[in-house]
């Protein structure tokens, strides 16, 4: 079975500035890669490259069998992305936002109610997103990401703004037990290590280490965040 995500020497430049430098890794289907690093390490850019939202400036990226950026159209609908921005229309309600996503994914309207229930958003489903708390919005953003059951989840600090109960609630959808291939970033190294099979340490866009999760110890983390 080919790897779900394979990056070989991927760099990404914004103008002259390199935000990612020669990043390489392979993630097999069903595995979780945690991407750790201080602010500005390039974690979000890396997820956007894997999602096909940003093209690699150099190197080779293959995601779910699609060569990026040439075949990025093949990736559409197969990647669930939870980022810093919820990718929701603020003047629409959660129900209306999810209904739009269902229509764009060619899913029936009944799916909207299933997702609202799954993320625990039914009680605030008819309030405009702009009136919701960050935690409520994050629940809806998770719902948007998993609406079509994508095989690959890209989670950029997915637990930000969520209280412990909400984290527990969403665990089956985006956690390890979802069984999906996942790339996640986190500012909670201990939590990320519990979730991950592999860990990529990034600093200033360059890989510092790529290790099995159980091989990452205090020394590696101190070195990464020093």
């Amino acid at each position: 079975m080919p790897p779900a995500v394979e990056l070989a020497g991927v760099s990404r430049l914004f103008g002259e500035r390199a935000v990612l430098r020669r990043v390489s890794f392979t993630v097999d289907s069903g595995q979780t890669l945690a991407i750790l690093g201080p602010n500005g390490a390039g974690k979000t850019t890396l997820l956007k490259v894997v999602a096909g939202l940003l093209g690699p400036s150099q190197g080779r990226a293959t995601v779910l069998g699609a060569q990026l950026p040439k075949e990025r159209a093949q990736l559409r609908g197969r990647v669930g992305f939870v980022g810093h921005e919820p990718l929701l229309y603020r003047d629409l309600t959660p129900r209306e936002n999810l209904a739009l996503q269902c229509r764009l994914h060619d899913l029936g309207r009944e799916r909207v109610e299933e997702v609202l229930e799954a993320v625990g958003a039914t009680r605030f489903a008819d309030r405009p997103v702009k009136e919701l708390s960050r935690g409520m919005v994050q629940r809806v953003a998770v719902g948007r990401a998993v609406v079509a059951c994508p095989p690959l989840l890209l989670l950029d600090e997915p637990q930000a703004n969520l209280d412990p109960r909400a984290r527990e609630w969403l665990e089956p959808l985006v956690g390890k037990e979802s069984g999906r291939t996942r790339l996640l970033t986190s500012h909670d190294p201990e939590g990320a290590l519990r979730e991950a099979d592999l860990v990529l340490g990034l600093r200033s866009g360059s890989p510092v280490f790529l290790l099995q999760a159980d091989a990452v110890g205090r020394r590696e983390l101190e070195e990464l965040y020093r």
Binding site: L92, H105, R144, E171
Partner: protein, 251 residues
């Protein structure tokens, strides 16, 4: 308590997600666009107020209560054009600020669906603008009652709106990511729109003249020719936009 999400109905889409088709996706995006405009009233009221103000300004600046012919057609076209520019400047801003571009690129639909939706929305906004603007224009500036030539005026404005909507959608997508978009959009939009403006004003001029011909005579003389010019403009820019739009949205 924790979440569960049934997978059965979506499972057959896991490997090969099938989008809803460009037209169906465009219809979904258009309905959201119109719903959002209905709630936020960010575009249409501003366009209407601007055009009404322009007619009032023309009324006093020209110091004439009754225009006809070339001048009447020119004033109408210029006011509508600048009113449209307000919408062109902001057509994709919501997508840029609220992540609509990224959400669309993650969904299994071609980006052209967004272009179709925005073009259709701009066309509708222009029609709404004219629904209020044309009676005000007739009242404030026109020498004669245009009811007898309304069919011709509507035909010309429909083709003009389509051209403005197609080019406006393209220019708006091209400039939305730029910090200087409010300067760049008019700089691109206005010169490219000149052929449409010439066609629309030339087609409207006889209809707004003191002694307007019947619609049949107008079509047989210059009207038919200018309508063809407007239609060709719409077609050409429609083809250009459909070829370019996918690239504009992607990185």
């Amino acid at each position: 308590m924790s979440a569960t999400l049934p997978q059965a109905k979506a499972k057959d889409r896991l490997e090969e997600p099938r989008g809803p088709g460009t037209l169906s996706a465009a219809a979904a995006l258009l309905s959201v666009e119109l719903k959002l405009e209905g709630r936020t009233t960010e575009l249409v009221p501003g366009m209407v107020l601007f055009v009404l103000s322009a007619f009032v300004v023309f009324h006093f600046a020209l110091n004439r209560g009754a225009l006809e012919g070339d001048l009447a057609a020119g004033v109408l076209c210029v006011a509508l054009l600048f009113g449209a520019l307000l919408a062109v400047n902001r057509l994709f801003v919501r997508e840029l600020e609220q992540g609509g571009f990224e959400a669309l690129l993650l969904a299994p639909v071609p980006p052209a669906a967004l272009f179709l939706a925005k073009t259709a929305a701009l066309f509708i906004y222009l029609c709404l603008l004219e629904l209020v603007g044309i009676p005000a224009y007739a009242l404030l500036l026109l020498a004669r009652n245009p009811v007898g030539v309304l069919g011709g005026v509507v035909g010309v404005l429909a083709l003009t709106n389509l051209g403005i909507a197609v080019l406006g959608g393209l220019v708006s997508a091209l400039t939305v990511r730029s910090r200087a978009r409010e300067l760049l959009a008019p700089l691109l939009f206005l010169p490219l729109l000149l052929p449409l403006l010439i066609g629309a004003a030339s087609a409207l001029s006889p209809l707004l003249a003191g002694h307007a011909p019947t619609i049949g005579r107008w079509l047989a003389s210059t009207g038919g020719k200018w309508l063809t010019v407007l239609g060709l403009y719409d077609l050409i820019f429609g083809l250009i936009a459909s070829a370019l739009f996918d690239f504009l949205l992607e990185d």
